[in-house]
């Protein structure tokens, strides 16, 4: 009898929770505008955990690279080898610093050329669910970051802010299935929409069958979506197929390598369409082989 009661109780609990989930989902589907409060609060809280984890991982890496690993090497080597190892480690650290400085220089250069008000941010975590392509950055509403602000990197367009919290923000990458950006072929000025596939590549949609598009063409943002500033590199055309309809089937390789993304700029300018004309050619020239 007790066993039956237990089963019955867990069954009721299951039904109650399912009912709660359905209510929760329905509420969101009916009101698509704005960020749900629950989402914002939980993200705000957990992004602090992500920040802590990122710091912890960096700390462990530093501890390993700077102490444990060196200690192990020291035990195995003679005095000269120790000095050599220490010098090599120092060299690596210098190289890392130089690489970081170079990255930041490129970001600074980008900021100056684009004449946009931006905030530099660091990527602290990636998506918590494998089905979504997003990252968390260490800048939030306290730094002026808001919903639907464009996020760019030295290589090109990264994505847009979808959930800002006080000190962090969630950025939907342009390769996410639900992401899209107004795009233009830089050479022929043919217009289309760059749509994420959830994979490594983007699809360029709504490009006319008669438009002049070739493999290797640079695709830049058109600014028509009123999110991404005009003229920023989205990627390069890798495949063009006549789809048999009024539009062509075009695949685009993103300019940004999302697996090694570390530093980004959040565009704080309210109307990004003010971005300087001619910026696109400067950036794309830099990227051309």
């Amino acid at each position: 009898m007790a066993l039956v009661n237990l089963r019955l109780r867990s069954g009721y609990l299951f039904l109650a929770l399912m009912f709660g989930h359905i209510i929760l989902i329905s509420a969101q589907v009916n009101s698509q505008q704005g960020v749900p409060v629950l989402e914002s609060v939980i993200f705000g809280l957990f992004s602090e955990v992500q920040r802590g984890t990122a710091s912890g991982i960096t700390g462990v890496q530093r501890l390993w690279n700077g102490y444990v690993w060196l200690r192990g090497v020291r035990a195995e080597n003679e005095q000269l080898k120790q000095q050599l190892e220490a010098t090599m480690v120092e060299l690596q650290q210098q190289r890392t610093l130089a690489e970081r400085s170079h990255r930041l220089e490129r970001l600074l250069d980008l900021r100056e050329r684009a004449s946009l008000t931006t905030a530099a941010a660091e990527v602290i975590a990636s998506a918590a669910t494998p089905e979504f392509q997003s990252v968390s950055i260490d800048k939030g509403e306290d730094d002026g970051v808001g919903r639907d602000m464009a996020v760019i990197a030295a290589d090109g367009v990264v994505g847009r802010v979808v959930i800002p919290s006080a000190r962090n923000a969630k950025v939907q990458l342009i390769i996410d299935r639900n992401a899209a950006a107004g795009a233009i072929i830089e050479r022929s000025r043919a217009q289309g929409v760059a749509v994420g596939t959830g994979e490594r590549l983007l699809r360029l949609e709504y490009v006319s069958e008669v438009a002049d598009v070739a493999e290797g063409d640079v695709v830049v943002s058109s600014g028509l979506d009123r999110i991404y500033p005009k003229g920023f590199v989205i990627g390069r055309v890798t495949k063009v197929d006549p789809s048999g309809t009024a539009y062509r089937s075009i695949l685009v390789e993103p300019a940004v390598d999302f697996t090694s993304l570390e530093d980004v700029l959040v565009v704080l300018t309210p109307n990004p369409q003010r971005a300087a004309e001619g910026f696109s050619s400067a950036v794309s020239k830099e990227k051309r082989p």
């Binding site: 867990s10 969101q28 955990v49």
Partner: protein, 167 residues
Amino acid sequence: MKVAGLVLATALALAVQSSIGRYVGSAAGLDLVLIVVVYSALTFGPVSGLLSGTIAGLVQDAMSTGIIGVGGLAKTVVGFAIGIVGTQFIVEHPLPRFVVFFGASLLHAVLFIGVYAVLGARDFGDPYRRIALPAAINAMVGLLVFKVVDSLPGAEERRHASTRMRR
């Protein structure tokens, strides 16, 4: 103690998931949170399974850019179903555990993608490729998790305690 352990394991899974995703990408479809939910359902029974599924799923939803509740619903069903399976069958050997993890991942993917498809809120492209490979990866990592936890001190006592709890 059990609740604290589950909350800690879920938080750790979320943190690790969002940290390694930067380096390995999300293509593999590994869902560490789902593995924690299945582990808790198999070890502690259907109530623990559905509660941990609800909490972990909702937090994961809130951390993502999708609709809050879809992942929670999918993980609640998976936690409850796997908890029932754990009380009805002996799932203590690698092969049955692999089958359970694989089945749990399949069920989760079908529910997750299915709810989004019903709502018309998201297109997942080729669903077969997005279901089968992640299910196999989750099953293998799930087996590894069980192996690691079983090798920790006090595994025998925990097994007896969880058997009593499930009954």
